[in-house]
Amino acid sequence: MKLSPLKTKKYIHNALKDEKLLSAVDKATQTALKKREDKKDQIPYWEELRYKAHHIKKNVIENLDKYLEEFEKNCLKNGIHLHWALDAEEARQIILKLLRDKNAKTVVKSKSLTTEEFHLNDFLTKNGIETLETDLGEYIVQLMDQIPSHLTAPALHLSRKEIGGIFHKKLGIKYTEDPTELMTIARNKLREKFLTADVGISGVNFAIADSGAVCVVENEANARLTVGVPKTHIAVMGIEKLLPGFEELATFLKLLGPSATGQKATVYVNIIGGPLFNKLQEGPEEMHIVLMDNGRSKILADPQLRETLFCIRCGACLNICPIYQQIGGHAYGWVYMGPIGITLIPQYLGDKEGKYSPFVSSLCGACYEICPVRINIPHHLLKLRNRVVDKGYSMKVERFGINAWAFLAKRPLLYRFATWFPGKFQLLLPKGRAFPVPGYTRERALGTFDLKGFRKRFLKLKNSDYQDIKQKK
């Protein structure tokens, strides 16, 4: 499934017509929000913890060079092979070479949004390596030939009927829509793969600079099996995932569970500081980490937008977002979606390709309120919108509208006529019909124009009215 953020308007129109999607997204986001609220309420120092996490990330990002060097030094000490990838293509080639060196035929993979950035699964499949997603949600979307529609719940947009249908079609099993049966089928299929796969590829939630270790957080045990059973483990991470030490990790683990899935703690926290075969006579003999830039250092160079690198991919901002709740994840057209996604799309893909993304927001601020690391998403969206406009990528109709307004605003008589006219014109429309604006009113209604208009009302205000308003304030 190849999506593009340039087609986001089309995707949104389609999503808005999809009642099934709306119902699935609504159910999932409301459940997650309710559970989060419950767990958050049990942590009375939640707000302080958010500030603390923000400060930890600020320190890491502002001193990223030092933490990267420290992490590298400690990884090498732990016998981990570290590979630096400047961009997506280099990351792909590094992984392919590692797999070819191991003569790998089958790879099991646990959830990694970083690898989605560079379409690793398709790339490896094209190169003759069977690559299997093992998180149930990821496995389902892989069978459907889709990409995840949520950062932590990849198959959130699908009903059990659709999942049952794809299992029947692709796995050749008898149709069932019973969730437990479907899970058991996936478990049995994948258990065999876990035990025979040559290499396990995982993402990384956090990397610990002072210990040269990575932390992978999950619920299903698929990541545990991915990093713990095959002879080679490859972890793929962005350079921004670092934390100074384990004390800081505790803060983030406390925040991540409630924010992501409404759990106080996720079922498995895997902390891996090197291959364990020599110690345990089981599991990986080799461990590799692919440390990828792919545009992150460019984001870092912006003194304001670098805050978007604080993101821990919990997905809480998606759940709370009134836009995401209406359109789901695929409408955004890329691997990162929702409020944080629309800040990342233009930064990773460029302002031209991501020109629509920062506008897929009501700027209500709910994402900032919920973010466990206090990323001021609305503030960054305004900056990104400015960038789109400054570079001349805004929509023609918008540019025309703003220019027209500027022209009129400088000419009071014309301005008065222009603001009087729509009110009168709407009287010609059938009662109850809104003013039609091509494109804009396809899925929403424009408010009716006030016949009196602001100017008339304003001029009628008496001095006493001002006082009244002031007092009310």
Binding site: K52, L136, A153, E247, K279
Partner: protein, 228 residues
């Protein structure tokens, strides 16, 4: 050193020279967190144990308080019998082996699997087909019901997640109040290879319906051994 490394590090070094326009955190945050943590943390051992039991129940784990090793053996054997389990993997610690030797008397037909005795290739396949495992852990974290396994102190990690049912023996001295305490207590050299387990494996990826036993164990039973 490859050139991508240098390019990335140089780009990062140049970028961080630009001062941030990100607000600082308010003063006194750490003190407030410490104070708040203190106010919600149970004051004594019994409080911590009960908190652990409650939290474990919330994450669908099972808590069994036992006053002696023989009570543990009796309960565990009964449980295995009721579930028709045919094999039990036993972790390498002497205490686990002792308990296993007593279970053997109760369930003579049960097959016992000792991971340390198995060849590497054989180990994963055998443990994946074993009904249950009897394991030890290093710490139990009360406020989230997490069990911490330090890899330095175990001979097998497979045993913690390949069998279908995990029986864990916890002793009172292993209780810690919260994750902050855990990461303060465990030296970083040991913390860098650690597994935290909070309840049985689970998923809610199909219509948010909770299913236990996704890819890992379907049951997690904690025997809290308060033996004098």
């Amino acid at each position: 050193m490859n050139s991508s490394r240098d390019k990335i590090l140089n780009a990062v070094k140049e970028a961080v020279k630009i001062p941030s326009r990100i607000p600082e955190k308010p003063e006194g945050i750490n003190a407030k967190i410490a104070e708040s943590l203190k106010s919600i943390t149970p004051k004594d051992y019994a409080g911590l144990r009960d908190q652990f039991a409650k939290e474990l129940d919330i994450v669908s784990g099972e808590f069994v308080l036992v006053k002696s090793a023989s009570e543990l053996v009796s309960h565990l054997s009964g449980d295995m019998k009721s579930k028709n389990f045919t094999s039990l993997a036993v972790s390498d610690e002497i205490s686990s082996k002792n308990i296993a030797s007593h279970i053997k008397k109760e369930l003579p037909e049960l097959e016992f699997v000792f991971p340390a005795d198995l060849a590497p290739e054989q180990k994963k396949n055998k443990l994946a087909k074993t009904s249950a495992a009897l394991v030890n852990i290093d710490f139990a974290v009360a406020d989230v019901a997490s069990l911490a396994v330090l890899i330095d102190n175990t001979k097998s990690l497979f045993i913690h997640y390949l069998p279908d049912c995990i029986y864990v023996v916890v002793k009172p001295e292993q209780i810690l109040a919260n994750l902050f305490e855990l990461f303060t207590k465990v030296p970083k050299e040991k913390a860098k290879n650690m597994l935290l387990i909070t309840g049985p494996s689970r998923t809610a990826d199909i219509e948010k319906i909770l299913i236990l036993g996704a890819h890992g164990p379907r049951r997690l039973v904690v025997y809290w051994l308060e033996e004098k």
